[in-house]
Amino acid sequence: MAEKLLHNYPYLIAALIFAVGCYIVLSHTNLMRKIIGVNVMETAVFLFLVAAGNVRGGKPPIIDLANPDVAYVNPLPSALILTGIVVSVSVTALSLALVVRIHRQYGTIDADEIAAIRSAEDV
């Protein structure tokens, strides 16, 4: 198994980064840091897919019309991840906007402090 893992190390690294990203989101109370964590998670998945698209000795999938016998990497994951990146930018944008608004309205971007303010409001 260790050998297999070593051979699949991009997958392994992607899995570990995914976990680290998830850990950042769950363990930190700072909202900005949570946003970074989500980004890390998403890029980890992207890394996983792009690595899966790689083919040993493959060239980037831009067809060389003069030279038909070139091996190319799989273009599909790249196309997917291009979409994925835009999605993650969008999510980041919205979460940043929310952080700005939370800061405007609560004066803090720490989840614990916000929770404290809210529970004080409820009483």
Binding site: V25, V38, E42, T83, L94, S95, Q105, R118
Partner: protein
């Protein structure tokens, strides 16, 4: 042309959404009307599609003319056409109340809100029609982004907080789903569900692979749908949103995620192998926990919108339970509950929105004596609440009955016990409110304006669905049979 319909419904909604912010500043009323008309048109088209699909069999449409493993395939099956019809109809009905709700909003905010609602509808439709996993994911994200947006539509600060919480957990959920899609692609080489499932069935995969795929899908979608241990964002988000948004989020959106889960699970693995992997067991367990915990949490709420949100946690458990039980009857029960609960929850939110507006507070004490001020909305609230409790002849009972049958068919004898227990708990938190409405002592003033647009169609549909469930259930069993096969 007709085969384009699943895409055209989505694109039509999208185009109207793109146009809305451009025109809302000058022609606000017209924008609202056009949005409503477009949604009703989408509802009509999807109903037509449903009728055609039931008659002539599923439509498989290759977008852009590229056949399945290369291009994106969109399928209109009885299942997806039904779910889209339900979603669009409920959205259209809820949108009837927009002009009234947005009276005091600035024009541009109103426009953005309408845009997001249209985008949400389009994305739900697209998600349901998708047969391509990545296409599903992209629509998934549009749904998510637009629901995060509408949760924060109110300007008070709890809305921002709730939306952020929702966003974080939703983003984690999306990552899990994307990871699962990625693994599926890496293992099978296909994004199309039909092809991937054929590959999974044929290849000798190490058992951990499908298990991890299914678990990641389950975690991701359960996070989005607010199943019990992952429901923590739901009460905040559904209570902080404007009334129409709460009605839609609770009534429709969470269920579309459940349908997505069912589609992915049955589309990729099939019922037998889900059972063998223990995934069905996991879904059922989560559903039961959700049913019981949601009701118990709802029992101690004093804020009506939070109460209804927790009740959604419980009710989404029914849907998951139905899907987890499998078999035509179980899936049909889940689908029926999607419609029934959509109608019930939307009516409950709309009616209580009126009370909140009247009293200026979300405390359930505000319901005292509301029956005299708002007789019709409160009568519909009562109807929907009793339906939630599961009184015979109302829609909630039919769900229960079919879940019983499904549970007994699957030889899981605890299912009736759980469902009965849950309806008792429902009674425990809904009946005091009903009593307050009619017999409580409250302020007698107010209520110059008794109309709640959209409530009457919802109630009529709810009664009809409860009294004449038979044709619908026949249809749903067809849809379920298609999903399972």
């Amino acid at each position: 042309m007709f085969n384009n319909l699943p895409v055209l419904i989505v694109v039509m909604l999208l185009i109207s959404a793109f146009l809305a912010p451009l025109f809302v500043r000058r022609f606000r009323r017209a924008t609202q009307v056009v949005a409503g008309v477009v949604t009703w048109t989408a509802a009509g088209l999807s109903a037509w599609l449903l009728a055609r699909v039931v008659q002539a069999g599923p439509i498989r449409f290759a977008v852009g003319g590229w056949p399945a493993p290369w291009g994106i395939e969109v399928t209109a099956t009885p299942l997806s056409a039904f779910v889209v019809t339900v979603a669009t109809v409920i959205v259209a009905i809820v949108m009837l109340g927009l002009p009234r709700e947005q009276r005091d909003w600035p024009s541009n905010r109103a426009g953005w809100y309408i845009t997001l609602l249209l985008l949400l509808t389009a994305a739900m439709a697209g998600m349901t029609f998708a047969n391509d996993l990545f296409n599903l994911y992209v629509f998934f994200e549009v749904t998510a982004l637009s629901s995060w947006g509408i949760v924060a539509a109110k300007t008070d600060r709890s809305a921002a907080d709730a939306s952020f919480k929702y966003l974080m957990l939703g983003a984690i959920g999306s990552s899990f789903v994307l990871f699962a899609i990625g693994i599926t692609y890496v293992v099978t080489g296909y994004l199309n569900m039909s092809f991937a499932s054929a590959f999974i069935a044929a290849a000798q995969l190490h058992p951990i692979i499908p298990w991890v795929i299914a678990t990641f899908f389950l975690v991701g979608l359960a996070l989005k749908a607010g199943l019990f241990p992952m429901h923590i964002w739901l009460p905040d988000a559904h209570s902080a949103a404007p009334t129409s948004a709460s009605a839609l989020l609770s009534g429709v959106v969470v269920k579309v995620y459940a349908v997505a889960m069912a589609k992915v699970f049955y589309g990729l693995f099939g019922g037998a192998s889900l059972e063998a992997m223990g995934i069905s067991e996991m879904v059922r367990l989560a559903a039961v926990l959700s049913i019981l915990a949601g009701s118990l949490f709802a029992l101690v709420q004093t804020d009506i919108k939070r109460l209804l949100a927790y009740s959604t946690v419980a009710q989404i458990g029914y849907v998951f339970l139905g899907f987890g039980l499998g078999g035509t009857v179980g899936v049909a029960a889940a689908l029926y509950h999607i419609l029934a609960h959509g109608l019930m929850k939307a009516s409950l939110f709309l009616a209580s929105g009126k009370v909140i507006e009247l009293r200026g507070s979300r405390n359930i004490k505000g319901f005292a004596g509301a029956g005299r001020l708002l007789p019709l909305p409160m009568a519909i609230f009562t109807l929907a609440a009793l339906s939630m409790v599961g009184l015979p002849l109302l829609a909630g009972f039919t769900t229960k009955w079919y879940l019983f049958n499904a549970g007994l068919e699957a030889r899981l004898y605890w299912v009736p016990v759980v469902v009965i227990l849950s309806s008792l708990l429902n009674a425990a938190y809904f009946l005091p409110i009903v009593w307050r409405i009619w017999f409580g002592q409250g302020e007698a003033e107010g209520a110059a304006d008794r109309r709640v647009p959209g409530l009457i169609p919802l109630a009529v549909l709810l009664v009809a669905v409860g009294l004449v469930p038979n044709p619908l259930l026949n249809l749903l069993q067809q849809a379920a049979a298609w999903l399972i096969s």
